[in-house]
């Protein structure tokens, strides 16, 4: 399971500013497209080069504008320039993460992770998502992974809460009960 990405307070502030600007210009979807593209690029080798301190900021900025010259929404392009001018270029990799989180909040989406002993079918996933959506009053989107040590059943981690319906969890609870039972 991927560790929840953390963002520094500065990245959160820049991300929020971009989000609000995009929202007021009704350009959320376009900027989100740019952000996911940026996110993919920054996670690759190119991204490594872009955060390399041996490169000057001007060179990095030049490279980005050249690479994305046509595709970027004007707001995204300006945002990158603002980052460069304010000497905050190193925050760039964090911004897509912050943006995605803000967008999820805006659309009322909760993202979580479903772990199961076997690969779950799409129907099961949809059913779990539906029932959790009902409970949390938000739209729940779950990523899936397989963990054979659970033996059976499923575990869902959502908004800091672990819903444990796995056989392993039940066995553990049974053990605690039997160990602490008053004779």
């Amino acid at each position: 399971m991927a560790i929840a990405a953390q963002s520094t307070p500065a990245a959160s502030r820049y991300g929020l500013a971009l989000f609000e600007a995009a929202n007021s210009q009704s350009a959320l979807d376009a900027v989100q497209g740019d952000m996911s593209l940026l996110g993919t690029v920054l996670r690759s080798d190119v991204g490594q080069a872009l955060t390399d301190p041996r490169w000057s900021t001007a060179a990095k900025l030049g490279a980005i504008t050249k690479a994305f010259s046509s595709g970027l929404h004007p707001l995204t392009a300006d945002f990158i320039k603002v980052l460069a001018r304010r000497k905050r270029f190193e925050l760039l990799p964090q911004v897509p993460v912050v943006f995605a989180r803000l967008l999820d909040e805006h659309h009322g989406i909760l993202r979580g992770q479903l772990e199961a002993a076997f690969a779950v079918s799409d129907e099961t996933l949809a059913a779990v998502e539906a029932s959790l959506s009902q409970e949390t009053a938000k739209k729940v989107v779950l990523g899936t992974s397989v963990n054979e040590s659970l033996l059976g059943g499923i575990c869902v981690t959502l908004a800091g809460i672990l819903y444990d319906g796995s056989v392993l969890g039940q066995l553990n609870r049974m053990r605690t009960r039997l160990e602490t039972v008053e004779l």
Partner: protein, 524 residues
């Protein structure tokens, strides 16, 4: 307890049949970073301050820093099994330790788990107590009135400690701080014959913090040899354990002592030593990135010790009526002997000044005295007991009244006399008396004296009986005198062992004539 296998089976069967197989929900987070005994956790949004959290493999941690998007924890066990990205569960509980009679005679760690290889401690979940407790309130307390005899002449005569008092033991390394505590614990055998079920018996808790494991083994051996372990608990957080265990162990030890106090018993607790606890706390707090203050200690290092020592108190006799939920009986007490180690006798360092200001007095041990053969190396000039005077036994108070001033005069004149000029008779007499008293107050290790024995010895010094004895003969004279009294005046000695016995003229006459008789025998 008799256990019938078929009953056990039926209980387990019922448990399994009634087991609810529904899903559970738990608040979880993820380890962001772990190292040096602390971990940062992302998530755990509903985590409370000081809450226990559970890592993988059952390793526990305590939440100490609640920040906007992460939680800082100290780990209470082996950190090597905790990895980045691990799931952390909140438990909704605070740290609790088992308490009660079953712990007496045992060596446990800061979590109350046995460390002496003598098997499981049979306590139930009802015996668990949170290690952090609030101190008794103003109305639930009472002034200190009963003596806590240490069995050491220089302390019981000049720096008397009462039950419920906090008396600091302070001094450089190797000045006999731990020895003083061991003697005091051994001496508590005189209160109830070493039988923990006797309500008169003072129970003892020895908390070793950051000590060498070998020191703790030695303490245990000495206490066992003296038959003192039957009423003693050793809470050990040795130097090799995590810093978190070292700074939490005094609170655990106090929780164990409070169980007895709240049931109306008297407890003696020794924290050996609080300097190391402050070191451990500083380490953890710096790793958790709390801002450092003076000597790099965090800002709440004063509170660290004051909240601990405030829990040692004398409870009011009607504490039970005032707060029946907390106190099953009134009149209990915890007497604390916190230890602080100084560097080169510097009491103005941060931790020593803090603890001096919290406690009700201090016993100052000096290496100069120690190496010149005055053992216990108590510097009576600057040692004080602020509340113990009211708790001193009346007979001791009367007999030892002039001791302090005699010794003070002696120290002043001693400096003069070194010039070697002719001295008048009064000065010479004061010098003779002082030298005898210093000799008299020396005492071997592991031989605490009863109240009666102390009174008789000190009477011999202050009444001038010793003035005619050679200085080198003083220890054997005093020893002989005590034996003589025990053999020929057992009734007087038993009477003097009662706290409340007054020093009447009649009593003084008997002791004086016995001293003279023995003095005659001794010189012959």
């Amino acid at each position: 307890m008799e256990l019938n296998p078929s009953e056990v089976t039926s209980v387990l069967k019922a448990e399994i049949e009634n087991f609810q197989s529904e899903a559970s929900t738990e608040h979880v987070g993820q380890v962001l970073q772990v190292g040096d005994g602390v971990a940062r956790i992302y998530g755990l949004e509903h985590c409370m301050m000081s809450e226990l959290v559970e890592f993988r493999d059952g390793v526990m941690g305590v939440a100490l820093n609640l920040e906007e998007d992460n939680v800082g924890c100290v780990l209470l066990g082996n950190a090597s099994s905790v990895k980045e990205g691990d799931i952390v569960k909140s438990t909704g509980k605070v740290i609790s330790v088992p308490t009660g009679d079953e712990l007496l005679g045992r060596v446990v760690n800061a979590l109350g788990e046995p460390m002496d290889g003598r098997g499981v401690i049979q306590t139930s979940s009802d015996d668990l107590r949170p290690i952090e407790q609030t101190a008794p309130t103003v109305v639930e307390r009472e002034p200190v009135t009963e003596p806590m005899m240490s069995g050491i002449k220089s302390i019981d005569a000049m720096i008397p400690v009462g039950r419920g008092q906090r008396e600091l033991i302070i001094g450089d390394r190797q000045t006999g701080k731990t020895a003083l505590i061991i003697d005091s614990i051994i001496n508590q055998k005189n209160t109830g014959g070493g039988d923990p079920s006797n309500p008169e018996q003072v129970l003892c808790v020895y908390n070793a913090i950051g000590q060498k494991q070998s020191t703790v083994v030695e303490v245990l051996r000495r206490l066992e040899e003296a038959g003192a372990m039957s009423y003693t608990i050793i809470v050990n957080a040795s130097a090799s354990e995590e810093a978190s265990m070292q700074f939490l162990s005094p609170y655990s030890a106090t929780a164990m002592a409070e169980r007895f106090r709240d049931a109306g018993r008297h407890v003696l607790i020794a924290y050996d030593d609080l300097t190391k606890q402050a070191y451990a706390y500083r380490q953890v707090m710096l790793l958790l990135r709390r801002p450092p203050g003076r000597e790099a200690y965090p800002g709440d290092v004063f509170n660290l010790h004051s909240k601990l020592l405030e829990r040692s108190a004398k409870l009011s006799r009607n504490a039970h009526e005032l707060n029946p939920e907390k106190y099953s009986a009134g009149g209990g007490s915890i007497t604390a002997f916190p230890v602080v180690e100084t560097q080169e006798g510097d009491v103005s360092a941060y931790v020593p000044t803090n603890v001096i200001s919290i406690t009700d007095g201090q016993i100052f041990l000096e290496s100069d005295l120690f190496y010149s053969g005055v053992r216990p190396a108590v510097n009576v000039g600057i040692s004080v007991s602020r509340v113990g005077g009211a708790a001193q036994t009346p007979a001791m108070k009367k007999v030892a009244g002039g001791l302090r001033i005699n010794l003070a005069q002696f120290r002043e004149l001693e400096a003069f006399a070194q010039f070697g000029s002719d001295l008048d008779t009064a000065t010479q007499q004061a010098l003779t008396r002082g030298a005898r008293l210093v000799e008299l107050l020396k005492q071997g290790q592991y031989v605490p004296l009863k109240n009666s024995e102390q009174i008789v010895s000190i009477f011999a010094g202050t009444s001038g009986v010793l003035d005619d004895i050679e200085n080198a003969q003083v220890p054997s004279f005093v020893e002989g005198l005590v034996e003589h009294m025990n053999a020929n005046h057992a009734d007087v000695m038993i009477e003097l062992d009662q706290w409340k016995t007054k020093w009447t003229d009649e009593l003084e006459g008997t002791v004086k004539s016995a001293c003279e008789t023995f003095s005659g025998q001794f010189s012959a």
